[in-house]
Subunit: 560 residues, 2 copies
Amino acid sequence: MAWEELIDKHAGTLAQAIAAVRERTFYAHWAEIPSGKIYGEDANEKGRHRFESLLNKPFRELLQVHDGAWVGREESPYGFPLGIEYPQISVATAVERAQRAQQQWRRLSARQRAAILIEALEQTAAEFFPLAYATMHTTGQGFVMAFQASGPHAFDRALEAVATGVVALEYFAGEALWRKSFGKGEIVLHKRFVTVPKGLGAVIGCSTFPLWNALPGVFANLVTGNGCLWKPHPLAMLPVALFVARFQQVLDALGVDPHVLVFLPCTPEEPLTWEVVEHPAVRIVDYTGGPAFGAELERRLGGKVVFTEKAGVNSVLVHSVSNLGAALENLAFSLCLYSGQMCTAPQNIIAPEEGIETPEGKLSVAAFAERLVSAIDALVQNPKAGPPTLGAIQSERTLQRVRQAEALGLPVLRGSASLSHPDFPHARTATPVLLEARWQEDRAFYGREWFGPIAFLVRAPDAEQALAEMVHLVQTVGALVTAVYTTDEHFKERAIASITEAGAPVALNFVGPVWINQSAAYSDFHGAGVNAAGSASFTDLAYVSARFGIVHVREIVRAE
Amino acid sequence: MAWEELIDKHAGTLAQAIAAVRERTFYAHWAEIPSGKIYGEDANEKGRHRFESLLNKPFRELLQVHDGAWVGREESPYGFPLGIEYPQISVATAVERAQRAQQQWRRLSARQRAAILIEALEQTAAEFFPLAYATMHTTGQGFVMAFQASGPHAFDRALEAVATGVVALEYFAGEALWRKSFGKGEIVLHKRFVTVPKGLGAVIGCSTFPLWNALPGVFANLVTGNGCLWKPHPLAMLPVALFVARFQQVLDALGVDPHVLVFLPCTPEEPLTWEVVEHPAVRIVDYTGGPAFGAELERRLGGKVVFTEKAGVNSVLVHSVSNLGAALENLAFSLCLYSGQMCTAPQNIIAPEEGIETPEGKLSVAAFAERLVSAIDALVQNPKAGPPTLGAIQSERTLQRVRQAEALGLPVLRGSASLSHPDFPHARTATPVLLEARWQEDRAFYGREWFGPIAFLVRAPDAEQALAEMVHLVQTVGALVTAVYTTDEHFKERAIASITEAGAPVALNFVGPVWINQSAAYSDFHGAGVNAAGSASFTDLAYVSARFGIVHVREIVRAE
């Protein structure tokens, strides 16, 4: 296909995405419901078969050089080994091949690269169901979440990065005639402005959202002309391998060297991260993962462009509510969703000692806690909704963390238990634990991240101090999201001002089918990049424009 | 004055600057000629008197806290001590006051901040002539250059940063109604998007262009809502003090805490740089200066936003010319201008062994060198043009470097000598030295920066290898500019492709009153940020958008 045709084919999609990015209104290029009516009645079944057909054998679909062993030791958190091995490639080879592929890639125009990337997304969307099963059985997510998080939602985040990248690449004129008078003469220069990629990008994936957290960095690198090495977490490689394989096939069919995006399989013993990010050819690093490692990475990579999403400590302030039931239901869902294994899950629930205003009068904190526990229990014990909402626990270490939390000696408002899964009797599961922490005295506990189904209820002396404590947490340890429930307009505006000033987003009075855990592509900037939770923001201008520079060519047309 | 009025007052200027930035066409808000017709017949005389009135006493015009000694030991490179002392302020106090001032500053809108900054520039422009003398007698620049570089050209770069900052701050919608259907219902969120500054910025100035290289960072910090500490070079403080004093007076008159921009005087013994940039409250660092220190700074400040302009090694390739005299004159001027003390001055002149094509036939490299030396001599020995073009040598170390170069043992095509200055008999001066370096063998010499009036002529086996060597230098040590003289369209396009790909700008066939040393505000991106010469680019989207993030506030409007 000629480039012009491909550009035309996707021009509408790109224009819609660019408009949505700018206006921040609702937009979704891919439907988020894994429904037969949308994706074909047999799509789910075929996807499951495809996933099962990949198990217990070498993965042979990549179009990239293989110069090592076969590696892979993934296990489903639902209780079985995947038995898949991936073809190893050395970092040196990956760098060399990606650099070579980049020679062609960087010379394409922004619109050509964007069209190729959208074509690749469109074709790879045929893998939504296999990707969903692959994600479910590496991360422990429930099926619907796995479908959305590694399918439509992740792909929309990728398209958003492409659109924002095109905006940044095209913002300034590509050429200009520059006329300047001097004395009686005029000098005329013809100027061209060439966008130049920074080098190779490396994207370091995490174990819980292998595509959603990685695709923005991958696509931001690619649209701006960089080659990209994608190193997944060693226990969440299959979704990445599936994505990259399909992506490489699309590129290859278009006559583009598929090594522009290289998949780097690894093992828990040799996770490769430092080897990749410290390679001198790698100039851009995107990292999602733990705060300690992320901070070390930022420190050690001075001089490179580094975008991190380290998790933060997300707090919910409950001051007053207009509909207690709806608020509790929303909050309970947020606490249960994927068993709190989201960097955006709420961890601390802060309420004023004096109680919470409701239309039915003041509710004591103890009564509120009781109602919250009931709401969690209702969801957990719902045989249809509970297991798929909670999913499974990705890592044994998260289970250990639940036990550590329960052993802190804090009053246990709700204990964690395993939850038997109808389809997977050996699934690793844990329902949320809710502890009561003492105001400030226990800041050593609630003031750090407890990744997993672990939450703290904190009684503040009053609402103002509750807010001050939230702001303090944002300032010291960072947060990816916060939530405030209040019916008081003045308090609401004060909360907005002080929390946003500290650099964290705010969700106000969330009820119904929208949760603080989720950020919407094209509208919500995920991770603002201005607090300790990380430096990345999906997707603002900094996130794309840091990946390239603009070099000018000035030529004398006339000087007389 | 009400903010609305101020915004209206400068709306036209801002709109013009934003349009110029986008279109990259010629634009200048301030006239570059220090002419009495433009600036008032007595402006020069009054400016000189003001400068002289500042000598040999404490500088008392700043509106900032003073909590230390009086410091200052500047000497004019034209041969006399300035005898000015500045009120010291500790880094701790500066940080604390700037943070306090920032509380108000960050809450102003982008347009309010832009209007205040433009008002400050307009009023501070009344100091163009004093700034020119202050710059001349700290840097050694000739008067006209000092006027332009610390006056109109620097101010236009500042306005450019303001304009680009407003573009980035306003690119995305500030609020949106977000509607999403689910089942039979609809959820409606009201979203606000708040821009949040990263923290405090620190701008570390250099000794040769105390305003031009610093103002983009200062104004990019300020327009994006950050407070800013400005630490000048200890031997080039007066221009900065003058600028900051006037700036603070304007802010104060508008009811804005002047500590939003703090001047940090220092001494050669206690240059303060590390203390300032490593302060935890400082999140953004702009640095102009030597490559070794700059690289160390990038390494050590991992996790902060760091923009550097370390000097590079700028090469000129002479392949073929259509007008030899004009080319030689242009090149000679570039070599002489401010005695090569510009990070954009040419250092290496590379020509093919076989000679240079001219309309009069092939010119041997030896003959070319002879003609170039004559062109330099003609300019140097021109009693009217020579001394003001060469100016004085800012630092004794640059003079030493000239002597070191001459002692390398390379053939001396043109020796350096002092040049007596009609007005300043004790001026520290040096005319350009031109050495012949052996192709590749002497790469240890011409492959590093020799800041000052030092240039190398290098004979390449042929034009292709000359080009490859230029590209190699850009890739390894970086370059802020390159120049190519060629009449061959194919060679020209190859040169453009390979040099821009390596990340350096190209000036083609420059003749007349435009030199590779100069980059035009609103049009040329100074320092592309994609080669070893530095990470900053005046002014692209990355340069402004890295200084802030966007935090969203989501509020339920309807969920049913």
